[in-house]
Every structure is written in structure tokens, then in C-alpha cells.
């Protein structure tokens, strides 16, 4: 019936088989990430894999869209990406839209 996921190190029981976005929202977590430039909080928006607002780090893998993922027992979720600019993770996972920087490289460059 229930599985446990770890949200920023905290153990959270959630119903088995639901989406990760539902699990977080259902347990009161609405800030999934912070905008790379403004630092303002962002949460899931479209619920269908289009907006990329629900991206977070799952089991060490950044850029996972929570609305498309299902919860798994023992899953480790980090809701805000590492703020260390030298951290190499995250840069090589997604090829952005052509002509479009990822948000990280986008502004002020």
C-alpha cells in the first residue's frame, strides 16, 4: 500500500504507484526547484511533461520530470539542484532546444 521516499533526506510515506509529482504535492511539497537565475520557487505546472517546471534530482540523476516518474520504495529526491556553479552534474543530461540555452546558461551570458 505505502512505500517510502526520501525528500531532501526526510522519510515520507506515500501511496504505492502514484506519480512523484502527486507524492510531493500530496505531502505538502510545492517547491520542486528554484529558477536558476532568479532563485524563485517553482512547482509542477503542466502535469504532462511539457513545461519542465517539475524537474528535480532523483537518486542522484538531475533533470527528472516528477510528473512523468512513479514513486519507488527508497527513492531519494532532492527538490533544489546543487547551487555550486562548479558542480558538473546537470549540464550534460539534456540537450536544450536549439538556439536556446538551458536556463542555466541562458541569461546574462
Amino acid at each position: 500500500m505505502s512505500v517510502h521516499i526520501h525528500v531532501d533526506g526526510r522519510r515520507v510515506p506515500v501511496p504505492e504507484g502514484i506519480s512523484l509529482a502527486a507524492a510531493l504535492v500530496g505531502s505538502g511539497h510545492w517547491t520542486f526547484r528554484r529558477h536558476a537565475v532568479s532563485g524563485r520557487p517553482r512547482g509542477p505546472f503542466c502535469g504532462m511533461g511539457v513545461c519542465f517546471e517539475c524537474e528535480l534530482t532523483v537518486d542522484g540523476q538531475p533533470g527528472v520530470r516528477a510528473c512523468l516518474a512513479h514513486v519507488r520504495d527508497g527513492m531519494r529526491v532532492e527538490t533544489c539542484p546543487p547551487t555550486d556553479p562548479d558542480d558538473p552534474s546537470g549540464g550534460d543530461v539534456l540537450a536544450a532546444a536549439p538556439g536556446a540555452g538551458t536556463t542555466e546558461e541562458g541569461r546574462g551570458v
Binding site: G17, I18, V25, W30, P41, C67, A97, G99, A100
Partner: protein
Amino acid sequence: MSDRDVLIVGGGPAGLSAALSAAQGGLRVALVDEHTELGGQYFKRRHPAVVARHGDFRPAGTRLVTAVRQAGVDCLTGHLVWGVADDGATLLVAGPDGAPHALRARFTVLATGAHERVLPFPGWQLPGVVTAGLALHLATIDRVPVGRRVLLAGTGPFLLPVACALLEVGVRVVGVAEANHPYRLGRHAAASLRYPARLRELAGYLATLVRHRVPVWQDTYVLSASGPDRLRQVTLGGRHAGTVEADVLCVGHGFRPNVELARLLGCETRPDPVVGEPVPVADVVGRTSRPDVYVVGEAAGIAGVHAARARGQAAALDILARTGRAVPPARQRRVHARVRRLARFAALTEALFPPPLHLLDGIPDDTEVCRCEQVSAGEIRATAGLAHNGLNATKGFTRAGMGLCQGRECGTAVACLTRAANPHAPAEAFTARMPVRPVPVTALGVPPRHAAGADRGRPAGGGTPGGEVVR
């Protein structure tokens, strides 16, 4: 790959229906979908664990998916079609592990669906402001209430079933703000519609809302959403202006067809009459300007699930007839009549619920329109007005529409703001680019045969709108 007769992109109602009819007629069919499960948005499947607790959801979808698999359709789930190769016909695909594939068949059927349109307002990027579709998926697929006190706003018949689904999972729905005025809501009588016979299903939803004392505020729209780090309060304008406390706001202003692949394949498009966004030109069976490419379902214009299934079927029957299979003409005529009837119904719905584009004239300059790149309404207005820039030039200068969502969320708004600031701007849409969705870098490099096609999709620098469209 050429041993396949039909390649269908998109495993929703339209793609599934096309796949089933084509396979049952004896064709070799492959169905590609980026998600791990077939069904698309309307027939999205519940996880087995949720089915065990709450039963199946929309069993018609389960039956359709099962039938498609049993009919021998090669179902490539978890495969994202991200572009078109240099030959203008081979589709470039990223597999589940990011591995590159190239797929080609004699006929290609695009059933790429649609996504929800939201017109921006101040505060729409706050956590707690979501699309109506997100709230519906949580309520129906996951059985999780999206919030405690929830307000729905926007326009369209879709808001009503979402409100009802939220009631079912125990949400307190504080109201539905409908920007248009499609409903007759008497003080005593149960709610009805201006066209009750045509929209009977909606009358049922309205009756449910009346029973639960959920107010439906017509001619009413969101002015702004606010809260410290998530939504607390919504300010409404129009007939029922005022403030509403809510922890979640669900918004939707209709749907936008996903037309990028059709455009990359060189299918002719025309601007839709309301918003001016490109929709593929297709006949009753979904044939486009390209003899080997069909567009069906919501990708061919928003018309709902029944129309999507009928169009998918019509395309399959047409392909069967063109490949020499016996298709009873009476059967084809029946399906065509159904497609036409449902298209008339869609036109009626569209007339009742036009997207309230005029609201964009009123959004303050500091409204964040492009969520990904944080471009404000003022920046877009200034750029478009200053140099008589068109949409794609405005995009190039401001970066609006260049983030990970590739302009899907802000596209309508950027186009409208550009045209308002520069009336001479041509009606255009963001250029269709590859990859049509962000893909793992591993998928871009190979297969070597198509490397040139992949390179075209790479940034040319500076976000200059280039001639990336293949063909």
C-alpha cells in the same frame, strides 16, 4: 524499417484507433510514444498498484490498448520522436536509454496530441498555480487531491469535469471562473447550457457543481495570483471581481495542437482563425499536403476524444484502401460522416469558449510571460514595438520561448503581445525546430547516416532563427 506499412506517432486515442484499424486490416504497424505507457493524456493508465486500490480508470482505454497489442502492433513506448532526417521522411527517435533510432514506413500518421494553453497573468509561475490538466491527472490517475481549497479559472468545457473530479477526491472547490458566458445558470432551475442537446454531458457536470454549491462565475477571469512562496490568494476581474483565498489555482484556456512534427515534415499549415497559430491542413481522413503523411486527433485541431478516435480510424481505412485492401465503402462513409459531425460540434464549442486573448492587453509590463527564460511582457512589447520585430525576431532578441518548454507555454502570449505592439507583424508561429523536445545528448550523435540531420538541430548561436526546417 521500411518493412512497415504504417508508422504512427502518438499512442493516445487517435493513434491507438488508427493502429488498431490498420493492423486489423492486415497492415504492419508500428506505434511510437514517448511515454512508458500507451494511452496518451485522455486514456492515461493508472499504475497497477492504484488500480488494485481504486479500480481501473476509463476502462475503454485499457480495452483499446489491449486490443492494439493483441492486433500485433509493434508498440515502441518510451521512444521520443525528436526530428526528421535529411530525406524528409525518416523520423529520428531517442529510445528509452537515450539510444538513437531512425524509423521509416510507407505511411506516417501523426497523432501527436495537444497541450493545455494558459494565458499568463502576474503570479502564474507561483507554485500552486497549475493547469487544469495537472489537477485532473492527480485526481483521476493518482487519486491525490491537488489542494484543499481550489479555484478553477480560464475558459472551456474542460474546467467542468476537472471541477467534478476534484470534488470526488474531497477537494473544496471554491469556484469556477469562466472568462466567457456559455452557461445559463438559473437561481432555481438546475444549470443548463445555451445548447443543451449538443452539450448534454456538460449539463451533467454543471448539475453536479450546483449540487455541491460550487459557484460558476461567468465573464470572470484571473487578474493576478499572489503568495509568499506559494499561492495564497487570487484576484479576479470581470463580473465577479474580488479576491479569493485558495491554496491551488487550476487554469486552462483551451488546448494547442502539437504541430512541430507536421511542420518539420513540410505539411502545409494554415493559421487558425481565433489565435492565428498554425494548424496542419488536412482533409476528413487526415491526409495532409504530403501524400504519405496523415495528421489525426487533436494534432489536426482540437475536437475531443470521440473525434480523435474517428479521425484515427478514418486515416487507417484510407491507408487500407490505398494499399489495395478491401474496405467497404459504406463503412468509410459512416466514419467520414462521424468525423464531420464531430467537427461541427467542435466548432460550436470553440465559438462558445474563445480564448480571452484581450486579457493579454491588460497584463502589467512586469508580468513574467516566458517562464523558462523569465522574459517579461514589457520586454516583449518593447522589442516588438521598437524595431517592428515579428514574432521570431522578438524571440531572438528577448529569448522568450527559448527555454526547455520550447515556447509551448508562452507561445500564444508572445505572439499576441508581439502583434499588439507591432500591428504590422505577420501572423507567424515560433519556427519549428529540432529536437522538437529536449533529448539526451547521446541520441543526437548517431546514427552516423543521420548525423547531418542532428547537427542541424544544434544551436547556430545567438538564438538566430535559422532555416532549420527540413524540406
